[in-house]
Symmetry: C2
Subunit: 335 residues, 2 copies
DNA sequence: GCACAGGGTCGAAGCGCTTCGACTGGCGCC
DNA sequence: GGCGCCAGTCGAAGCGCTTCGACCCTGTGC
């Protein structure tokens, strides 16, 4: 491995000069800079990450804690993770992948070892165990999601309340009076994942305002579960004409079952989904949907982290505005 | 931050003794060990990762290069990544997430900076650009996938040839004589991704042996693409009674379209998929399938890496045996 | 009773980098 | 013409850890 000292020697300057060429923290004459850069090229020099981290107490690494839940919709997680990784690179950071497995202890480990300069937490619960540790450690962090108590925390998330409201608004505007919400798996509510509850809150509030009846039913992914849920919904509320689907894994089963039952979409029933654009456009019926801006969330989270590390931080909650796109799955309520 | 020296002072021993307690590289008396461990607890000491990396030239980090292709089936990638991360932790390693974005340069950067002790490459192409750099750098690495030239490389992958053969074997055994293969998106073949071609090779070889006709058609995910592909297949080979589906995103559209066309599964046509178990069991028809052992692949890759780092390495290709599970989507060919 | 082995501990020398203070020479300014 | 100033460079002191050789002490074998 080539070292800084070797580069310095090769260029006929001192080690510190090379370091300053690299960091730009002091002015260097053009000729010296060129000589040094030439030597770096020629020797194929790469700074040693460990040494750099030790001397500067900056690792240029951002830790990303992703849940390893199987009941979460994986593509969204992945999309966020990828967006985080690529955005981080454009700011000179690498990303360390931590799974939920290790639990809150991971926060302590990362903070304690200075392995990462900052952390991004995904799948934040309303009363997340990691948060006390995070506050206590004083490590800079950004959450993707919204906990109950966000004092001293920076959060990025889709405005799920507005999302729920938007869906109901759209259906109500089309004349639907009985709406069913196909929710996330029961386990998601049980551990009080913020986004699931907030969506339902938004739906409920808007429904009351618009004088619409709402039936909310958690639902696992897959056909069997969906079939049961659907049967019970129509049993309880035969007049249901509008569906809001929150669980992407339920979208296709729902459409399929409706079709089998002879209920046409959107003539007999309308369906609005909260899902990534790709799911909406590739479904068997092109879905009217509110997009989950996974990439945007990942990007913003990193940008917040970078800002905080640069001292330009803001302890703010950044809620992304939901956008509803009308496609082929919603229409006027049947009279 | 608490340092080694402070722990040493608190415990009344020298710094090196604390280090040896931590690493276990020299014998330490029970009483000393206890005193030191007690001090560590009490002070809340965590070794500094940078310093450790510098002094030991070991970062305890494994870099994972994941593709950021949108045409790959994401859940499998994610599952592998998660398995890699959790398995790595059990061996004391963390995982650095690198996206394909940076390209081959990432290999050079990681190898040069000693940021990671080893690398795991996913989505390896037949003639992957990263491989020459990898060989040249001498960095320890494991591939998930099989390149054309694997001299000096350790690879882990599902035996996709056997997988293809297994599918054909199953269908042929049920009396099917005309089989259609719903392949990956065309782009996947264009960049010569090993697994896609190997599956088809396996299918072709077995088909010839079993005297079965095969029609292979690449196919994007989604309904529109699938509808076109399906129409062309039945146009060309009206007698097709067996399907092998390689692209998970095509599974549900295929089942749905077959149903719409009045072709019953498995009475009229049989479908075998190559996909994760979850997809197979949650589909509208429980699918006979060969599982993609994503977790197992991630785990084995890490274990190979760990073995190599410990000097117990083997430059071997480890092919995982495919397993076909019969479910409800295949039956005897109609006479 | 002595030599020797070996378990247990310590001191010191780095690992490769950043960064601070200090030094030098040339420039503009009064 | 002397002063201060600043751009440009250097030397040295760490950052917190690992590891090697050296040392001491106790126990063992003859």
């Amino acid at each position: 491995m080539v070292t800084l000292a070797e580069v310095a020697q090769h260029a006929g300057v001192s080690a510190s000069t090379v370091s300053y060429v690299l960091s730009g923290k002091r002015s260097i004459s053009a000729t010296t800079r060129e000589r040094v850069e030439h030597s770096i090229q020629q020797l194929g020099y790469h700074p040693n990450a460990g040494a750099r981290a030790l001397a500067s107490s900056r690792s240029n690494i951002i830790a990303l804690m992703v849940p390893l839940r199987t009941d979460m919709y994986v593509p969204v997680m992945m999309e966020i993770a990828i967006a985080v990784a690529t955005t981080a690179r454009t700011h000179g950071y690498d990303v360390l992948l931590l799974t939920g497995e290790e639990g809150p202890a991971a926060v302590r480990r990362i903070a304690g070892s200075s392995l990462a300069d900052a952390m991004i937490l995904m799948d934040v619960e309303l009363h997340d165990e990691r948060l006390p540790l995070l506050r206590e450690s004083g490590h800079t962090a950004v959450l993707i999601g919204l906990p109950a108590d966000r004092t001293g925390l920076t959060c990025v998330d889709l405005d799920f309340e507005a999302t729920g409201a938007l869906c109901v608004d759209h259906l109500a505007g089309l004349g639907h009076r009985d709406i069913a919400v196909i929710g996330e798996a029961a386990a998601v509510y049980e551990r009080h994942t913020g986004f699931a509850e907030r969506t339902v809150d938004g739906i409920r509030a808007k429904a009351q305002e618009a004088n619409v009846r709402v039936l909310h039913r958690p639902c696992e992914g897959g056909y069997a579960a969906m079939a049961g849920t659907l049967a019970r919904i129509f049993d309880e509320r035969p007049g249901t004409t509008g569906f809001v689907v929150q669980n992407e894994a339920a979208v296709e089963p729902l459409l399929n079952l409706l079709q089998q039952q002879g209920r046409a979409v959107p003539e007999d029933v309308s369906v609005v989904a909260v899902c990534p654009e790709q799911v909406a456009t590739q479904a068997s019926v092109r879905l009217t949907s509110v997009a989950i801006p996974a990439q945007e969330m990942g990007r913003r989270a990193v940008e917040q982290v970078v800002a905080k590390l640069a001292g330009r931080g803001s302890d703010e909650v950044e809620l992304l505005e939901p956008v509803l796109t009308v496609r082929a799955s919603t229409g006027p309520a049947p009279s």
